[in-house]
Subunit: 339 residues, 2 copies
């Protein structure tokens, strides 16, 4: 095994470098038939001649409810979004609950209702599930796991290896809202801000791009744990090219920027739950951007950069002051349990 | 909501009456499009004209390793088996790990290796996954969730509503081994027995029945939490008929019988992880039994009873002494966290 850490730390669940080491060093070599699939958002499986996308995620967010959302809503949207950015429309979902003994039924019911509403909004059917209960102190209220299957959208091919210099990088809206909202909801910090989680289904926006610019789509990803920086570093590594962002075009709410400055965090490392990144060929970039902007909630979408030949494998930001800086993948875990 | 309990207790995860109340009173009405699916082992979904079976389970067994198996092996076999008893052959699986901070990597690696071996034995591909880490004390080493999709076996229709008086009840082998093994492995009791968990894939046995007696199969179920008694009570309720067992034909290892007598438990309520129950029409009963017995590990299979008209909705046992007793669904949770 290439995984040499002697024990599991919070950082192994943070979606950054440590997570990648765990996946690439332990899970992928032992478990996966096709190792390439572990790092994509959803696997592609052939079932009786039909192509199906298949994905799963566990949710352990703390607190269970926060401004703009809750664990139940995240659990549905997260799986819908993983399928969407792999170019598939969620069709059916299953769910498991790991509940802590003593959990108030009203708390559980609120989450089940949040899931129900999110399922309706996304047009997905819940078809089965399982419940386990563990003793007091052996969970933190509840953990929810969802798995989903979806049908690939016609003409959409998401593959980092098809990315070319000159392609444009699109983001669906301002980022960092989710992670900073969770941080503030914990009240560990004496900070207040008028901020809500961005959790939502990105499916309508992805479908809008697919309708107007399907053949221009090279790659998509929802920048959850590890944030935009980690998602784009993985892209840079997987396509062997440079990802170049233009700081002036990056949409970030002032509250997120302010909190990050106070805490010494880079907004590019903060998790999002209702945004997605897309790499689109230059000739389709305007059509893609317009398609997202015309969608409900997509009016803050931006083209934030482009693909270059050099420096290969890196993410660089052209700063406001005509400098450049390298943005690394997330290291450590500044904000544990944000999803 | 019909679910009136004010908080979650261990019994809500035990697979018996309380679990059913939670599912029927809260999860099914709010989450499920087709409420009938929540209580079956796997849902049936149409994807682009292809029928697919889809299921999920979380595993929280304590201790993580026990004689004859471990949480990783259970997590693979459990999903393979849920698909098998719904009449489907597992094709692809996804997995999530919820890990406790501080978990030794060797413990995790052992479980990943156990999963890998179980996947190979079952002929299933793992195609994706997710990892979350929670703080020390917020989990119990690790929880594993798997979801699986499978292809329905030709000619096999599992539906309690097709069960008829005169049909035979088949079990694949002795029962109670898993639950009692877990109980002994916890060493809370000063009991020892030469017993190992029965965890295994039942797919080869289900495929053998399907090959020899497909049109005779009416219903199948793996009697995990809640044991044979709970599975058969659900059958009796769902088909509106009586399930009659013949005590003399029920295969139970002496060690299981002895431990149950000491503890005041009914072996019919003890969980199994590598057995399945089938209701087969009378004319196919011998063929089905022979097919299972010819399969590796199936030599202790038995016909243990039959379907009657009366007492409708109940499970009765014809005792050795020519009496009869009613067997209820599991109430409470005598053995928490056995899977």
């Amino acid at each position: 095994m290439r995984f040499k850490d002697t024990q599991i730390e919070m950082s192994h669940g943070a979606g950054g470098k440590a997570s990648r080491k765990l996946v690439e060093g332990l899970f992928a070599p032992l478990l996966l038939t096709d190792a390439a699939q572990m790092l994509s958002d959803a696997a592609r499986v052939e079932m009786g001649g039909t192509a199906i996308a298949f994905t799963t995620d566990s949710f352990v967010v703390r607190p269970l409810r926060f401004p703009g959302g809750s664990i139940g809503e995240l659990a549905v949207n997260g799986t819908v979004n993983d399928l969407a950015v792999s170019g598939a429309k969620a069709s059916a979902m299953v769910v498991t609950f790991i509940l802590e003994e003593g959990l108030a039924s009203t708390v559980l019911e609120a989450e089940v209702r949040a899931m129900s509403a999110a399922l309706k909004r996304a047009g997905v059917s819940m078809v089965g599930g399982d419940t386990k209960v563990v003793e007091r102190g052996k969970a933190d209220g509840m953990y929810i796991t969802t798995a989903g299957i979806g049908i690939p959208m016609r003409g959409v091919h998401v593959d980092a290896r098809t990315v070319r210099p000159g392609d444009k990088i699109l983001i669906s809206g301002p980022f960092g809202d989710h992670g900073i909202t969770i941080l503030l909801a914990r009240q560990d910090l004496d900070l207040e801000a008028d901020l809500v989680s961005d959790t939502r289904s990105v499916l309508p926006m992805v479908e809008a791009i697919a309708a107007e610019a399907a053949t221009g789509i090279r790659w998509m990803r929802d920048p959850t744990r590890g944030g935009v920086a980690t998602a784009l570093n993985e892209l840079a590594r997987d396509c062997g090219l440079a990802v170049e962002l233009n700081e002036e075009e990056i949409p970030i709410h002032d509250a997120v920027r302010g909190a990050c400055e106070l805490l010494g965090l880079d907004p590019l490392h903060i998790a999002n739950e209702g945004q997605f990144l897309a790499v689109v060929s230059a000739e389709y970039a305007d059509a893609a951007l317009n398609a997202v902007r015309m969608t409900d909630g997509g009016d803050e979408a931006q083209i934030i950069g482009q693909i270059r030949e050099q420096p290969a494998g890196a993410v660089v930001v052209n700063t406001r002051y005509r400098g450049t800086r390298i943005v690394e993948m997330l290291v450590g875990d500044p904000l544990p349990r944000i999803c």
